[in-house]
């Protein structure tokens, strides 16, 4: 029996879809059977980030409404045999499915896969309710901005009301250099407000933009720090105990020299 994880945030643009794609890929790369479900009906993106948009024949709404079998709608990933995607419909809207139907679907998917990753749409209305209906656990994505943290707080409250206790926190797009200067919220500041367990921290990384545009999840990029962070998160989800990446600021040659000679700013 697998586990259903919903990736949510409240605010848009904080990286839910990127996170879904990379956690899915990360889990598949360590040999887990994973299916990613895009519940952002009408604004589907996950297929684009995964580079699978040209393979969509049937979608989530077709499955739920019985226009096709579940197997027909699942798209196999190019890179991993054990990774599947269930895309959202592009021409319908969020009301095309109900929370009950989502619950049923999750039960079915759980029987065949180790992990079901649900990419939740932004907002707290119908789409959010659909996405969380069948979930066992939740991952809340936020960025170090006051607006994103405020929305994450609201979402955690709503998750608790929906009996999804102890959601995990993922902080995205952190810039260690800005944090060091005091221009950006610190990880501790965010945890202080949200008071939930930290699952991982993803640094701001240009490689993410490049890989999303190419349809290659950054988790497969061995040279990228963000990719490493996502791979670590995937392993933490399986229960491994992996320490957080140290997000040291690249000091440059001058900084290193200064350190060598014992100058401390």
């Amino acid at each position: 029996m697998g586990e259903v994880l919903v990736i949510t945030s409240g605010k848009g643009g904080v990286g839910k879809t990127t996170t879904s794609a990379n956690i899915g890929t990360g889990l598949a790369s360590i040999g887990k059977k994973v299916v990613m479900v895009d519940t952002d009906i009408g604004l589907r993106n996950l297929d684009v980030v995964m580079g699978l948009e040209n393979r969509i024949v049937y979608d989530l709404v077709d499955v739920v409404q019985g226009n096709c079998r579940l197997k027909q709608a699942l798209i196999k990933d190019k890179r991993f045999e054990s990774l599947c995607l269930l895309p959202a419909a592009q021409t319908k809207d969020k009301s095309a499915i109900t929370p009950e139907q989502m619950k049923e679907l999750c039960v079915k998917l759980k029987q065949e896969f180790d992990y079901v990753i649900i990419d939740c749409p932004a907002g707290i209305e119908g789409g959010f309710k659909n996405a969380t209906a069948g979930a066992d656990k939740a991952i809340v994505v936020t960025t170090p901005e006051i607006s994103a943290v405020r929305d994450a707080d609201r979402i955690i409250g709503l998750l608790e009301a929906a009996e999804l206790r102890n959601p995990k926190l993922l902080i995205n797009r952190i810039r260690p250099s800005m944090v060091k200067k005091g221009d950006m919220m610190d990880i501790d500041d965010i945890i202080d407000i949200l008071a939930i367990d930290l699952l991982g921290v993803i640094p701001e990384d240009e490689a993410i933009v490049i890989s999303s545009n190419r349809g290659e999840p950054v988790a497969l990029d061995m040279n990228s720090q963000a990719g490493q962070a996502y791979r670590n998160i995937a392993r933490r989800i399986t229960g491994e105990d992996i320490p957080l990446l140290s997000l040291e600021v690249d000091e440059g040659i001058l900084g290193k020299l200064k350190k060598f000679f014992g100058f401390n700013e």
Partner: protein, 229 residues
């Protein structure tokens, strides 16, 4: 709006609910119920109202029905006023603080004084309050946790937060100026006590603080001993 059964107006005394004089009482009650529990629920939260009956006479039964309706919605009746010359039998049923016929303005001071002496119920919350969550309670509120920005507590009594208060707090919401707000870290986005409004000071507090009214202004001071309050 055509000849509404129930009209709500506010003035310095508080909210007045005017009931139409000729329609049947059960209709009026149904209308009131709908008003109080509908989308305007928050508008009435924690309010105390004066019922204006006009020329209507009510039996004991009618009044108790009215009373129950408001109680269910968590709203306090400050007084019932009628122009009817007939001796109404309201007092036989009602509790001491309620007055009936041709009321001289309701004695606000007296009622709130007795209220304060009588111990109020306490609402205890054992978790963090997050953005969008709110408590409206006729009594005192104690939170064992943080109150995050976007969360709101409205209480007719005091508010105590055993954590950081970053949201909105309104103590003594029915106009009780002796109410206070205490928090382990007092950093509310908005603080109200009775009819006074304040924002949190810019500098971060170093320890527990208490906010209360002093000469019509809300003041914050480090919290020393509970016995004073």
């Amino acid at each position: 709006m055509k000849n509404a059964l129930v009209t709500v107006k506010g003035d310095r005394e508080g909210l007045h609910i005017f009931c139409e004089e000729t329609s049947s009482w059960s209709k009026v009650i149904a209308e009131i119920k709908e008003r109080l529990s509908g989308e305007n629920k928050n508008f009435f939260a924690g309010a105390s109202v004066i019922i204006e009956l006009g020329n209507r006479d009510l039996s004991v039964k009618d009044v108790s029905l009215l009373w129950k309706t408001f109680e269910q919605c968590g709203i306090k009746i400050k007084g019932i006023r009628t122009d009817s010359s007939a001796e109404t039998s309201i007092e036989t049923k009602e509790k001491d603080s309620e007055q009936e016929d041709r009321i001289k303005p309701v004695h606000e001071q007296e009622t709130s004084a007795t209220e304060f002496i009588s111990p109020k119920p306490v609402y205890i919350l054992n978790r963090n309050m997050r953005s969008g969550q709110n408590i409206t309670f006729d009594g005192n509120v104690i939170v064992f946790g943080d109150v995050n920005p976007g969360a709101e507590i409205i209480a007719t009594g005091f508010i105590m937060v055993m954590g950081t208060l970053r949201g909105i707090a309104h103590a003594g919401s029915s106009g009780d100026e002796r109410a206070w707000v205490m928090a382990y870290r007092l950093q509310p986005s908005l603080l109200r006590i009775a009819n006074c409004i304040a924002r949190a000071p810019e500098d971060e507090p170093l320890g527990p603080e208490i906010a209360k009214i002093n000469e019509n202004v809300i003041i914050c001071e480090p919290f020393k001993n509970i016995e004073k309050y």
